[in-house]
């Protein structure tokens, strides 16, 4: 049984369900059966001492929109890739930008930045003064480096 910790309305009038992280997959499966067939957006928010992940769901048939919210303090959230294929790239993007790990994602790697980039830029404690550069190795793969080296 899924326990809904809090149900409120956002400033835009969309219902927000706050649930426990362990209930996420079960809750989402229920919602998908209810007709929410469109996973629109996954947003991670860095709240400094914990991470918040918002899922925006839409139902084409019922024209309804809901937001599901979970919080995590150890940077892991279950992956929804088994329910919606669109979760794949969204989760990779959030992993890249905020470092949230999605358990069960088969190919969790960075979306925009190269694999060796240090830090996750959208975190509040990301240091912008620590300049990194990207170089290309002989196979055409990118790697991040602090030393600009040749060509820069």
């Amino acid at each position: 049984m899924v326990e809904i910790l809090e149900e409120k309305k956002g400033k835009d009038g969309r219902p927000i369900f706050v649930i426990k992280k362990s209930d996420l997959l079960e809750f989402m499966r229920q919602k998908k059966q209810e007709g929410f067939d469109h996973l629109s957006l996954i947003t991670g928010v860095d709240r400094k001492d914990y991470m918040e992940v918002n899922y925006h769901l839409y139902s084409f048939s019922k024209n309804q929109y809901i937001v599901v919210k979970v919080t995590t303090d150890n940077l892991t959230v279950p992956s929804l890739i088994s329910l919606w294929k669109s979760a794949d790239w969204e989760e990779r993007e959030q992993y890249d930008m905020l470092g949230i790990r999605f358990d069960g994602h088969p190919d969790l790697k960075r979306m925009f930045l190269p694999e060796s980039w240090v830090g996750h830029p959208l975190r509040k404690d990301y240091d912008l003064n620590n300049v990194q550069y990207i170089n290309m190795d002989e196979y055409g793969e990118d790697y991040a480096t602090f030393d600009p080296g040749d060509g820069w």
Partner: protein
């Protein structure tokens, strides 16, 4: 030439070469971001870059001698831009189009944008604007032509 003085002949050939070179610039199709759409507009019917002999946009760097860097150069793109520049045959020229290419533009505070393409490749003409209008890019190309012909632009 009647007097038999040497030197006149060579400068004339140089001049002829420079003239020919300046009027048949073949740009590389290298659209990066927003400015690329304005670069397409320059190719299009209204502004028509072919009046200046530059209408043949080549897709291969080996066939082109002008690189119009149109749009933000990110750090991930910079090594590839360098490689494309290296693949172009001499003599080669670079036009930096748009303020992002010149110094980072609106993204100057960020972490992933190169603050000026002249840190990666040498630039001949800077065309400011966000994005520069097609007129500005045409003027940039004309400035480059003058530069190739060795005329000073005052």
């Amino acid at each position: 030439m009647k007097t038999g003085e040497t030197g006149i002949l060579t400068t004339t050939i140089d001049k002829a070469l420079e003239w020919g070179r300046s009027n048949s610039l073949w740009p590389l199709t290298f659209g990066l971001a927003c400015c690329a759409i304005e670069m397409m507009a320059v190719q299009g019917s209204h502004f028509d870059i072919s009046r200046f002999g530059s209408e043949i946009f080549r897709n291969s760097p080996r066939q082109s001698d002008l690189m119009i860097v149109s749009g933000t150069v990110t750090k991930k793109m910079a090594p590839r831009l360098k490689r494309l520049y290296d693949e172009m045959p001499y003599p080669k020229y670079v036009i930096a189009m748009g303020v992002c290419v010149i110094q980072g533009g609106p993204y100057v505070k960020g972490y992933s944008v190169v603050l000026g393409v002249d840190r990666v490749v040498p630039v001949d003409v800077f065309v400011p604007g966000c994005p520069p209008t097609p007129d500005a890019l045409t003027y940039g190309i004309m400035t480059l032509q003058k530069k190739i012909r060795g005329e000073t632009d005052r």
